[in-house]
């Protein structure tokens, strides 16, 4: 936003509440690392020193859903696990976003077999599908940036008493 530059010029700043809210929301996305299998290891690498998710304001990985607004589903979701994932998603406060990390969560991936859910969009609203098996850490960071862009376009009225899944945020703009 270039806050400092503006403030030194006039000493004040005009903006919309909407824009301010969206800006603060997008700059501190707290992910809920739903690490289920192999992709979770790459998600750990993103938190590690080489890729360092802290550069994007999201290093606060909380393992309790109640403090998070972005769920990264990393790993194969089986039918048995799907109920747990759904329950955790329901516990997250609105507004919330979901990244389906990896081929497994997006479409079942290489597991065309009886226990694996063929894509978590069958029971969760997904915002970003992330390709790769596993996606490289840079790719996950890219997804995070895209989610931030998406959050940056939200307005306060988007969240009025409606679950986010019913909103089409991008088209509202």
């Amino acid at each position: 936003m270039g806050l400092e530059a503006k403030l030194t010029q006039d000493g004040f700043l005009t903006t919309k509440i909407d824009a301010l809210l969206a800006w603060s929301r997008k700059s501190s996305v707290w992910p809920m690392p739903m690490g289920i299998s192999c992709c979770a290891i790459e998600m750990m690498a993103v938190g590690g020193p080489k890729y360092d998710i802290a550069r994007f304001g999201s290093e606060v990985m909380r393992f309790t859903p109640r403090q998070c607004d972005l769920m990264i589903v990393a790993g194969t979701v089986t039918y048995k696990m799907s109920h747990v994932v759904k329950k955790i998603y329901d516990q997250m406060p609105d507004p919330k976003w979901v990244i389906a990390m990896g081929a497994c969560t997006s479409s079942g991936g290489m597991y065309r077999s009886y226990p694996v859910v063929q894509g978590i969009d069958q029971f969760l609203p997904v915002d970003i599908y992330l390709a790769g098996c596993p996606p490289r850490p840079d790719n996950l960071l890219n997804a995070l940036i895209q989610i931030q862009e998406k959050i940056g376009r939200t307005k306060g009225r988007d969240f009025q008493n409606k679950p986010l899944s019913e909103l089409n945020v991008i088209q509202n703009n």
Partner: protein, 160 residues
């Protein structure tokens, strides 16, 4: 090693039938289903054999054979550095076999897995529940008549 195993088995249990076969240096002995616990006890406790490490218990589904299933036990003797395979046939109409979890405690979960995947019941098992699939699931996935993609609707999904 083969002679020692057969000698010790015959000495302790004179009236059992044992067939042996070999493939790629692996010795397999086939015993009758009713003798399995006795045989395993000898294999584990005999001071010359000492098969104290039960690597694995699994089953094979032969689909169209008369004795449809074979239960396979992989054993290892640290003393002799020798690996042995023990097998027992189980028929579908009488789909059960005695548990060996009293001999090796590690067999407990392996047998639960076999029960889950093949539907073979292990008599006197301390805790025979499904290992992987949900308790409500009705089928046994590794049987040959179960499709890879599963049976639609047999596993519920949460509501959207």
């Amino acid at each position: 090693m083969k002679e020692i195993i057969l000698n010790q088995l015959n000495a302790s249990l004179p009236n059992i039938q044992v067939e042996t076969s070999e493939f790629k240096d692996e010795l397999t002995i086939q015993v009758q289903k009713k003798d399995i616990v006795e045989v395993c006890k000898v294999l584990k406790n005999d001071s010359e054999l000492k098969f104290i490490h039960c690597i694995d218990v699994t089953a094979i589904d032969w689909a169209r054979r008369k004795d449809r299933f074979t239960v396979v036990y992989h054993l290892f003797s640290l003393k002799n550095k020798f690996q042995l395979v023990v097998k027992a046939d189980v028929d579908e109409s009488d789909c059960n076999i005695d548990t060996v979890s009293s001999v090796w405690r590690s067999a407990n979960w392996h047998e639960r897995e076999v029960y889950d995947m093949y539907g073979i019941t292990f008599n006197f098992h301390p805790d025979l529940r499904r290992m992987y699939m949900p308790e409500e699931f009705e089928y046994h996935p590794l049987r040959k008549d179960f499709p890879v993609l599963g049976i639609p609707g047999s596993l519920p999904l949460p509501k959207k």
